[in-house]
Symmetry: C2
């Protein structure tokens, strides 16, 4: 008889309602990998491991509006209805919201750019890529994932040593004012802000997803109360998010020094990855943390189609142990796209956290 | 017997080598309307009207580099070869360069963003939409169109009263540092800069394309030597470029007051459009102009699929007359996508200019 996994799993049925219907990458709509089945596979694996399930509680928007521009939240809440009113879903292939024009500094020059009234023009103001599609059930799922993160943070603030939020869609690529990278609201940032709101003076976010969490970095870049550390495949080697995630991004103003990136070359396996995780944990410990948020992406696994890192279950178990040893910890599901290995990888990370 | 159209037509065979292969609009690749046949139709119509053809001369990059960031020029010159080296054309549907991630201010937050080494990441730094595709012959055609503009400007600087450059691809949506809107280098801005370099102290650019020439506006926004005036369908009514092209954009610094936009509601016909053209011409005349550049898009015609304006041949003839009456004039082909009416519309504008 195996021991039951002693980590509460926060679940929202609503997470299944988001069907992005694929992604548009370099001009072509592919099937995509951020599918509802991810959540079902994880839920089944966690139930089989005996982890207690906790239903996500519906929270208000207060915490969300502390990390996100309210305009982003309002846009996400309403964009599908606007898309429908504009008649786009009746056109072939336009069954999801995909922007086509993006107000980059190189486009705008000396002007700030007006907020376009038309939804098809405005879409690129709030979404910075073509691979993060919005469909009819998306907002309910996005909000459900945020509620799962808030509920898990609430458990830890109330005294639990560990809680895991089975968030889907994931969140760490969402900045204060724009979504992207298959993410819509930043669940990890929301959890960190909830911990601060509940009294934590110093929160450490450790992001072990295969990709740099540019959204979380950006949200806390000038804040001293939330430290952010990330280990990820080097964006300079051709990986999302391409423009940020480099080692010299160290925070600014009151957040100076409170941001640490450890970009790794493609092909990095457990040894190099865990060395970076240990390094980040040591930095977080040196700064001090009343609470920890782990952005738990398991797409750094060798089996995963979305990254060239080669991390094993043992690696994830050790990473779970190292991060959760720092302080009471909220684990937030981020990436991880290989359905057959997704369950074992997350279980390994949570088992490591439970051992800490 | 009809009189021959007394306007030299600058032509570059290279303009035909750009085959964008359609455009990606709201996530779907469509056939697009900016096709090589546009140039052939125009050339035939102008030849039939007896206009003298002048071969475009190959110029160096000096003038181009005065209106565009040299990084943009280098990117455009090399992006297709990089795309090929990366192997994308072997993937289904990735036979053209289309970006997928765009470094908007909302994405980057407090950071400027690193220049991504990988072409598929970097593409969105230099192109702000998904509808402006690059293929194998694109750069030769783009450079050929710029040479046509430079050659036409050279004719006017040398004493011709009028010269028309049959530029394709068009150019007025290209800013200093980014391309978009089916445009790659800003032929009109290049012509204006060439006129300045040849001694003109005040150049007026009159943009009568159906869409706002955000690129030209942006390039000259803080300059006092090149005035820019545009009449176009209101971007606030849901039309490209959505973010700019509003009436309150009036220039800045030394360019304060030297930028005038006349956005018009969808459905506007000759009367309202010509009132705006007259108004702009009066403003240009009041400021004084040694030379004029007309961004001659004929997509404001009722027959055109790309705009909801309803301008007739007579309207274009009058606009040609009004603009060319100001000073010696370089006419640069911009949009216009209805192949059966393209020739008559451009002929009308040039005939009007010749009457001035």
């Amino acid at each position: 008889m195996t021991e039951k996994l002693p980590v509460p799993v926060v679940w929202s049925e609503e997470c299944l309602l988001h069907d992005p219907g694929g992604e548009v990458w370099l001009g072509v709509r592919d099937a995509g990998t951020e599918v509802p089945e991810r959540a079902l596979v994880l839920r089944d694996a966690l139930a089989a491991a005996g982890a207690p399930e906790v239903a996500a509680v519906a929270y208000g928007d207060e915490i969300l509006r502390m990390v996100h521009d309210p305009e982003l939240i309002d846009h996400l809440a309403g964009v599908w209805a606007e898309w429908e009113r504009a008649g786009f879903p009746a056109e072939w292939g336009r069954d999801r919201v995909v922007p086509y024009v993006f107000p980059t500094p190189a486009m705008l020059g000396d002007l700030p750019g007006r907020m376009p009234p038309a939804v098809h023009g405005r879409a690129g103001r709030f979404c910075y890529d073509t691979m993060t599609l919005v469909g009819p059930g998306s907002w309910t799922a996005i909000r459900g994932a945020a509620d799962a993160a808030l509920t898990a943070a609430g458990l830890v603030s109330a005294g639990e040593r560990l809680a895991y939020a089975l968030c889907r869609p994931p969140g760490h690529h969402v900045t204060r004012a724009a979504y992207g990278g298959s993410c819509y609201l930043n669940n990890a940032a929301i959890a960190a802000q909830a911990l601060v709101a509940a009294g934590a003076e110093r929160v450490a976010v450790l992001d072990i997803d295969a990709h740099h969490g540019n959204g979380t970095q950006s949200i806390f870049y000038t804040r001293g109360d939330v430290w952010y550390g990330s280990v990820h495949v080097d964006p300079g080697a051709g990986w999302f998010p391409h423009y940020v995630g480099y080692a010299d991004e160290r925070g600014a103003g009151p957040g100076e020094g409170a941001n640490q990136n450890r970009p790794l070359p493609p092909g990095t396996a457990d040894e190099g990855w865990l060395a970076a995780v240990r390094d980040l944990c040591a930095a977080a410990a040196a700064r001090g943390a009343d609470a920890v948020v782990v952005s738990l992406g398991v797409d750094a696994a060798e089996s995963d189609p979305e990254s060239p890192l080669r991390i094993t279950e043992a690696g994830y178990r050790e990473a779970g142990r190292l991060t959760a040893a720092l302080a009471p910890t909220v684990l937030i599901q981020e990436g991880g796209y290989d359905l057959p290995t997704l369950g074992p990888l997350v279980l390994a990370a949570l088992a490591g956290a439970a051992e800490a």
